[in-house]
């Protein structure tokens, strides 16, 4: 399960051999007086799975949104495969086309069939032919056991099924990085397992993932590294097993004591 960062392959077309897929340095975001991200430095290397944990309002979601430029930053630099994407000259749509994102509430498009949801970006953004996009879409749906629902509309699916479709929709264009924002938080407990299993299989398959999560056991088992955010700052980070076995900071221990059973 431990896929150390130094085994990582450089991403195709990356500037340097050891360039992280995503690198934030000194990222700051404030709403007026309220500082949401206060100088965050974070790297995600190729094939690495990084879990962001922290209380509500600690900045996890904001951090994820800054990474695909949905949220402007007030200072700092964000690099994607070595290139500064926080520069105002950068084409944000082109950046987002290289990053997959999945949200808490699935956000499937209710007016499109499951297959059309999955193939939309391939066809509109990446100009893949309809036949090729649908072949790939069917393949992805088959891989999550939902091939029979290709022509159905999202409201026919359970929450867990919808979220799994949302995940393959994000993967359909072969992104370099997958952002997962609390993807199980809106699900009924009995549906959480199927979504986590899919994320786990993606992690095992080498997908680079940055995820915000409340599932501590999942973070410990699947993530290579855990990052604890509090008040918009990274308080502590480390390899996931060490992090949970022996947290160094008092604030981390207090947080874990609140969220871990027993």
């Amino acid at each position: 399960m431990s896929r150390a960062a130094d085994e990582a392959q450089p991403p195709a077309g990356a500037a340097g051999e050891r360039e992280p897929v995503l690198a934030l340095s000194g990222v700051r975001r404030a709403y007026g007086e309220h500082v949401v991200l206060d100088g965050v430095d974070l790297e995600v290397r190729a094939h690495e799975v990084v879990a962001l944990i922290g209380a509500s309002g600690s900045g996890k979601s904001t951090l994820l949104r800054t990474a695909n430029l949905l949220e402007p930053i007030d200072d700092g630099v964000i690099r994607l495969a070595g290139r500064d994407i926080s520069d105002p000259r950068v084409d944000a749509d082109a950046v987002r086309a290289r990053i997959g994102a999945v949200f808490q509430h699935y956000n499937l498009f209710p007016h499109l069939s499951v297959l059309d949801n999955v193939t939309l970006a391939s066809r509109l953004v990446h100009r893949t032919s309809k036949a090729e996009a649908e072949r790939r879409g069917q393949e992805l749906l088959a891989s999550i056991g939902l091939a029979n629902f290709a022509r159905a509309y999202p409201d026919r699916l359970s929450g867990g099924q919808q979220q799994r479709v949302a995940i393959v929709r994000a993967l359909a264009t072969g992104p370099e990085l997958l952002l997962l924002d609390e993807v199980t938080s809106a699900l009924d407990p009995e549906l959480v397992g199927e979504v986590l299993a899919l994320v786990r299989s993606l992690a095992d398959g080498g997908t680079t993932i940055l995820m915000a999560t409340h599932e501590m056991a999942f973070a410990r088992d699947v993530a290579d590294r855990v990052v604890f955010l509090d008040g918009g700052r990274i308080v502590e980070q480390g390899p996931s097993r060490e992090f949970f076995a022996a947290p160094r900071e008092e604030r981390t221990r207090a947080f874990l004591a609140r969220v871990l059973p027993g």
Partner: protein, 288 residues
């Protein structure tokens, strides 16, 4: 990156200052480009109009400054009547439209006649041209000799209320239906009655959702109040017509038109502002 200053407060980094400067330059560039393209466009338009063979005569009959100044007081006087009609019509339309929309949401077989009347009303008055309603109400209803003699402007106002209520009721109904059903369930679960749920929970949200559409209808009504002139009320349009006949020149119509535009402008700007503010709220700080 973000270097902390000696007093501990955050100061933007050189890089961030550079990005801000770049964004400012971009803003300036956009302003310059839009100004330039506006100038070119206006120039072409002016060249086409001013260069047309009949321009001299059109300028004389439609844009005579002396006639404009001479006719302005009477037209402005007329516009005051339009404003009065507008205020009463706006209040009337809101009341009738909310009532109609609420009637259409009533459940239960007992209320079928009310629902049917409300539905029939909106069907009828969205179909009939405003001008015909004006004639029927303005000349037909007084002929019943049922009511005391009232100024034609009053009948004109009633006709406008009749027609616009039908449109605005549909806007409200769309808003009511756009409030998520779970809101109704939540209110009923608290023990609120159907009426209480509508008044305290559904309508406030519905009105917020349809505010831009309502303001748009209000702008449309602002100029349609000019149609009461067909009943003989001396409003801005009628005054312009009289002045036009007097000076044998069409400039008063242009003056009246400009006055109506000035009347509409604040509302148009306000609508844009409200819409933009609602969009900002819904996007919670995000930029797409």
């Amino acid at each position: 990156m973000s270097a902390a200053s000696p007093d501990g407060a955050w100061r933007p980094s050189e890089l961030e200052l550079g990005r801000r400067a770049f964004r400012r330059r971009q803003t300036w560039r956009s302003v310059l480009v839009s100004a330039l393209s506006t100038l070119v466009f206006a120039g072409l338009l002016a060249w086409a109009v001013l260069g047309s063979p009949g321009w001299a005569r059109v300028a004389e009959t439609f844009f005579d400054p002396e006639v404009a100044i001479a006719s302005l007081p009477r037209i402005a006087q007329g516009l005051l009547l339009n404003l009065q009609v507008l205020v009463f019509a706006a209040v009337g339309v809101l009341l009738v439209a909310i009532t109609l929309a609420t009637l259409r949401t009533l459940r239960g077989p007992v209320f079928f006649p009310l629902r049917a009347i409300a539905a029939g009303y909106t069907d009828l008055f969205r179909g009939v041209p405003l001008l015909i309603v004006l004639y029927l109400v303005g000349y037909g209803v007084p002929a019943l000799e049922f009511f005391p003699r009232l100024p034609v402007a009053v009948w004109g106002t009633i006709a406008i209320v009749l027609v616009y209520s039908a449109y605005v009721a549909e806007v409200f109904r769309a808003g009511i239906e756009a409030v998520h059903p779970s809101q109704r369930l939540a209110a009923r679960s608290l023990g609120l009655s159907h009426a209480q749920t509508m008044r305290r929970v559904v309508l406030p949200q519905a009105i917020r959702k349809v505010t831009p559409a309502l303001m748009n209808d209000f702008v449309a009504m602002q100029k349609d109040v000019g149609l009461i002139s067909v009943l003989g009320a001396v409003d801005a349009v009628r005054a312009a017509q009289i002045e036009t006949a007097h000076y044998f020149n069409f400039t008063p119509y242009v003056v009246a038109g400009l006055l109506f535009v000035l009347l509409a402008l604040p509302m148009v700007r306000l609508t844009d502002w409200v819409t933009a503010r609602m969009r900002r709220r819904e996007q919670i700080g995000s930029i797409v």
